[in-house]
């Protein structure tokens, strides 16, 4: 009995609060919070929503996204240990017991959905639950290890936050949140493939069928250009459809054109620097575009 208790103590002894925080993928969470807030910001009726409830909606969105990230890390702990980019995460480092990580993720996910439903509405809660389930079961457990289209289809999970932010305020989904969804959906492949280009050896070692691994760098670069070309008219849609001002249109046009140029530079150069630059720019692009949506 004593031995069992001692073993349990040793098993969980190294986990600190910051390890649990790292399980939530804080960088991804910041993007989710920002795009979710943009969806909430442009939703009609924000002014008549109690500020505390709006805060709770953001908290639920952040916690839900973090919970999905924790479950993703639990499931992927075997390949995370192989990849240089992820080997320092708490699970492959052995800092957190896998069962604890899974429990942590499930509890946070359930709580975030329930709280969203109680505080705001069940439409937003339902989309949050669907996004989490999609990320865990469709992307993490199925697509990621089975098809080069993993992040194309799986990217939908990351595109839900503006819809959730919008639905938290209005209780429904209209055309505008769907456009925001589409922007993130088509942004995801060039963003991830830029990363995949310079982390290709990692993905090869872990046997993840990323586009760069299965189809090669050349084919991936062509597809990256194609997605950035789709993003140009798509990013202009909020202005063309009258949701945003001409100022937004100008900013979106410039940002998307630069994104296309960065994809072309990746295609033209054999070295990895343009891919690294494009990855960095893609993060800036999404932040800047949604900031433009908010001020537009």
């Amino acid at each position: 009995m004593n031995t069992a208790i001692q073993q349990t103590s040793v098993k969980t002894s190294e986990a600190t609060v910051s390890d649990y925080f790292a399980l939530l993928k804080p960088k991804v969470m910041s993007l989710v919070i920002f795009t979710g807030f943009a969806g909430m910001w442009v939703a009609p009726g924000l002014g008549s929503t109690h500020p505390f409830l709006a805060f709770v909606a953001m908290l639920c969105l952040a916690t839900g996204a973090g919970a999905a990230g924790a479950i993703n890390m639990w499931f992927d702990r075997d390949i995370d240990a192989i990849m240089d980019r992820t080997k320092d995460r708490p699970l492959p480092m052995g800092k957190i017991d896998p069962d604890e990580a899974l429990t942590f993720g499930i509890v946070l996910s359930v709580f975030s959905v329930m709280l969203m439903g109680i505080a705001l509405n069940w439409v937003a809660a339902g989309i949050l639950a669907f996004a989490n389930l999609f990320y865990v079961f469709i992307y993490t457990m199925w697509l990621k290890r089975s098809t080069p289209q993993n992040i194309v289809i799986g990217g939908a999970a990351g595109a839900f936050p503006p819809m959730i932010g919008w639905a938290a305020i209005t209780g429904d989904i209209t055309l505008y949140p769907l456009i925001m969804f589409a922007i993130i959906f088509f942004w995801t492949p060039p963003h991830f493939w830029a990363l995949s280009l310079f982390a290709n050896e990692d993905y090869k070692r872990a046997k993840i069928p990323m586009m760069t691994v299965t189809a090669g760098a050349h084919a991936t670069k062509i597809q990256m250009i194609a997605y950035t070309l789709i993003l140009l008219p798509l990013s202009l849609m909020p202005w063309l459809m009258g949701f945003e001002s001409a100022l937004y249109g100008v900013i979106a046009g410039i940002l998307s054109t630069l994104f296309i140029i960065s994809a072309i530079r990746v295609y033209q150069k054999a070295d990895l620097m343009p891919a690294k630059m494009m990855f960095g720019y893609s993060v800036f692009y999404l932040f800047a575009l949604f900031l433009a949506i908010m001020i537009g």
Partner: protein, 39 residues
């Protein structure tokens, strides 16, 4: 008994869990008050 690093680490974790529970209860309480007030 002197506190070891393990004790300190577990105390931090337990305090974080306590803060989360108190925070959750406080959030539910405030939501209830807002709902009662018709918000």
């Amino acid at each position: 008994m002197p506190h070891s690093d393990l004790h300190k680490q577990k105390l931090k974790k337990n305090l974080a869990v306590l803060a989360m529970i108190i925070g959750f209860i406080a959030i539910i309480w405030v939501i209830t008050m807002i709902r009662i007030a018709g918000g």
